[in-house]
Symmetry: C3
Subunit: 426 residues, 3 copies
């Protein structure tokens, strides 16, 4: 999987993504090679709750040159150089005037910051602080931004569903509005697409699986304006997939509810499979979980990340690049999500069909016939726990918690007891 991941990463890397624009269309088209995306266009100006879809932004060319024609910065070299949603501009400016349009990171002088101005019209350039202080203060600069902000354009979103006969669904939400940033956020779209490609072959799924690729904030707000009420009734679990590409420990940010299905499953999986990991309570900043967990929806949506947004110095800078991430880590992120899905699928409440005293397991070939042999009690221990707790109040996570038996050890025994008809699904 690693080679494939790198292949797609390389193809997607230099595309200029934003809330809207052709870069987003191209990104979704490439991802469609992995995941069966239905791509749709939402007209600019569409109202969703308190928000409006902004004009479509596209950029042909953008640069600063000095009076001798030397290129200072050029959008075609690194799309982070242009302030996101910069309006068109053409002119010659003295240093003093130009510098009010320049954004840098004085504390990280080698790095270009990532900045946007979606809802207030501006233009600007981002550069390393090192370059900024080397500019000639006596110079007059030529600025050219050939961008467009089109009220008649649209916002592009992608969606794929793995269908099943189930009513309830599981949501994976990731965002495609970041330009050349690797962990945040090419890792999320890549992980989402590969989860889909691994999961789609599975037969007999107990949930529908929905994958959405939207621009952050406005995209999930649009989605909720369309599906929010439906999600309230039908969403069993959801995950915002972001920052899953670096080599750091897994970090799970809980849903606002704190003990919803994704929270219980993910905590159990991490606890039982990882030595080191972080569980973080919900907080109302971050990514699209802010919208999914707004008080009017309060959906069961958490986020399994690696190093969380804002917690690594390269965050929202040109340092978040291919060197910062690891394709091995991205692959493991896909696998961890698949483990979570497996537990979601198996996490039923079971019913012991013979709840009065123990069933006689021996006559069913499930118990050693030679009684009282020291040690043999352990062999049937797992069976006993499942039978004892299968009263319709405990799901498999509860059984795992109370018995301290890892859920992956419970699953095959559940299957065997199901086959024997000693337990059934509630």
């Amino acid at each position: 999987m690693k080679k494939e991941l790198e292949h797609y990463f390389d193809r997607l890397w230099s595309i200029n993504r934003s809330l809207t624009g052709n870069g987003n269309r191209e990104t979704l088209k490439i991802l469609s090679e992995i995941i069966d995306l239905k791509i749709s266009e939402v007209p600019c100006g569409t109202q969703c709750y308190d928000w409006t879809v902004p004009p479509e932004w596209n950029v042909n060319e953008a640069w600063i040159k000095d009076s001798k024609g030397n290129v200072i910065v050029d959008f075609s070299i690194n799309n982070l150089h242009l302030l996101g949603y910069s309006e068109p501009f053409k002119g010659k400016l003295k240093y003093e005037e130009l510098k009010t349009h320049i954004y840098t990171l004085p504390k990280q002088p080698e790095l270009i910051p990532y900045l946007t101005s979606y809802y207030k019209r501006r233009w600007g350039f981002c550069m390393s602080h090192k370059q900024f202080i080397s500019l000639d203060e006596e110079e007059t600069y030529e600025v050219f931004i050939d961008s467009s902000l089109d009220d008649n354009g649209s916002m592009t979103i992608g969606e794929a569903i793995i269908n099943s006969s189930a009513e309830k669904e599981v949501l994976f939400s990731t965002y495609v509005c970041h330009p050349s940033l690797a962990n945040n956020e090419l890792s999320g779209p890549l992980v989402s697409a590969f989860i889909y490609s691994k999961l789609k072959e599975t037969k007999g799924l107990g949930y529908k699986y929905r994958f959405v690729f939207v621009p952050e904030t406005i995209g999930s707000i649009y989605l909720l304006s369309q599906k929010g009420e439906y999600f309230k009734n039908n969403l069993a679990a959801g995950f915002v997939i972001t920052c899953v590409g670096d080599s750091g420990e897994f970090t799970y940010k809980k849903s606002r509810r704190g003990n919803a299905l994704p929270d219980r499953v993910t905590e159990t999986v991490l606890r039982q499979t990882e030595d080191n990991f972080n569980i973080v309570d919900f907080f109302p900043s971050g990514s699209d979980e802010r919208q999914y967990c707004s008080p009017g929806f309060n959906l069961p949506v958490g986020s399994l990340m690696r190093t969380m947004y804002g917690k690594y110095p390269e965050y929202h800078t040109s340092g978040d690049n291919k060197n910062f991430i690891s394709f091995e880590a991205i692959e493991k992120s896909v696998e961890k999500y698949l483990e979570i899905i497996e537990v979601i699928e198996k996490n039923e409440k079971y019913i012991n069909t013979m709840p009065y005293c123990e069933p006689q397991l021996g006559k069913r070939g499930l118990y050693p016939t030679l009684g009282s042999q020291v040690g043999t009690q352990d062999i049937v221990n797992t069976m006993m726990w499942i039978l004892n707790l299968s009263d319709g109040t405990n799901d498999l996570i509860s059984v795992s918690e109370r018995s301290k038996i890892p859920i992956r050890n419970l699953i095959p025994v559940v299957d065997r007891l199901m086959e024997n008809g000693i337990i059934k699904k509630q």
Copy 2:
């Protein structure tokens, strides 16, 4: 405030207070200069639940002299010398007989104990153990107690109310039955009176504030016999104000309920403003919270003290005097109660009027228009927490607990969001 506190302390110090009597009348009259007390008289013999208001006790003169006329102890020098509610007596007694009427503290030989015999008729004197062992065992002593116990007298109580349009009220209860004892209990009446004088100017209060000055036990029992059923329906929070004059850390004794409004507010305020403090679970000995928290009432009444009654060696002795207390500490006690009142006033459950996704704060001038700038997320963090949790289930204390943002930082942001109509009171 410190000078004023000392002025009133000095005027009140030497007055002989008890369950009843002219000393109590004089005390309440002096306090009326600070707080608009309505003073009333409850006839002796009045029945309240299992109790009866005792006869009114007054003392003109009380002393012991030796056969040479030397004064051994004199009530006019220190009113602790006379056992509280001593009946009148005049006579000459041998040492052996006298000593059955003398109370001392052998383990604190320098200090005079504070003792009373309200409900059994006795007479007695208290003195330092040092003085007691210096008495001449061969001597015959002259004893004179010119006291009266009048069944036709009355018990004097004071009450002041800061009115508002609110139905619910907050109670401050303190007691005026202790003679020359400083921390326990001139500090409580002084703090209560000064809270009143600071609070009465406040406009638009959300609660009524009731201040009662009663003798301990029989006074609060009488009050409950009159107002107990009303308090059950209308008391939002109450505090017994006692032992608030020494320089020790604050100690909060919870109400019997344990998580009532005064408990939650006081714990939050102490946690967020003090480095060191004590929280003590309710226990059914102590002061008037015993009555307010008796099982038939179970009112939301706690007690914010400094060093708790019984926890300092000077407690109920002549060592609890002006040297033991600090007017700076008393002033800070007043201020801490005022901080608590401020939180009680602000601790509403708010409702986010735009609960579906986030409101677009930017277009309301509440959000930086330049997105993705590292650090700016923190600026709106408080707003986001309030918006996310304002679903009608969380009061401001809950918001503070979950967000870990001090309540005093929440209050101005709540005000701003209220002005913008983005939240409203439930």
Copy 3:
């Protein structure tokens, strides 16, 4: 009591007990000298839930001899030598064939294991591994098992009830199916019988007390098939009495409910009377609590043991013999169960008949008349706690937990307040 315990132990030690058979009859007959057992016979083949009472097993003689007639093992020397429920056999076998019928403990080479094959027909012998490896591999052995498995026999059980006017009952369940094993399980039947003999003299008991002596598993399953529905309505607390004979610390295994009456009482008693003890959450292996706590019944049944089954190396071996146990420990086990019974009897919810403010204890002679004397507050502290918490929601265990006053100090004060009519039973 120790002498008596040893006397009965010695008489019961060498009897061959199993699920069924004359050894069980003889055991119950001897125990009837201590406890008024009603002994009944359940026909073999009786169906109870998923189980069937097995044939009655009796053994006359069983041994292995070598070709020279030397006895290798003999059931009459130690009944552990014969695999429980061995079918009859007579024949000569080569070593290679014989050894498939020999069971040993290679890791405990000095000890004979205890093994059974109740539900699959087999024959076999148990011996020390040391003896096993000394057998001559060239030898031909003579094997003789004169046993019978009679489908027309019966399973013998014993039951005794201490009656009272109460509807609710307390169950003590122990098992009589182990041959010569001391801690597990002659200690349980002995302790049960002696609890009965101590308790039966008590007047005015607030519960019925039922003592059952059954073979493990099939016996309790039979009992539940008869009484399970009755127990659901009427069982207040139950205890499986097993492994109560060694000198180890007490271990309490909670009921499946975890906070049922036996759990709360036993935890309180252990916490307040023992320095070292273990509390173990319910788990669905072990002894007859597996059946009582099966999900269809979920009865309030725990088990107070000393060193738990499986937790000592002598468990289920010939090492669990008279040397392993202590009659002093057995006596203390009886006493600890009697302490638990005392708390069960006293653990009422009381009602303060004067719940509005405090009753005036002084006029009832329950309070020192000399007020404010340092130290005297402690004298009435226990009374105050009981009065304050006697609101019908707290039983005596709750009062003990909240007040931190040991329950044995509460009991005499409860009695005194009951006499004065200040509290009453709910």
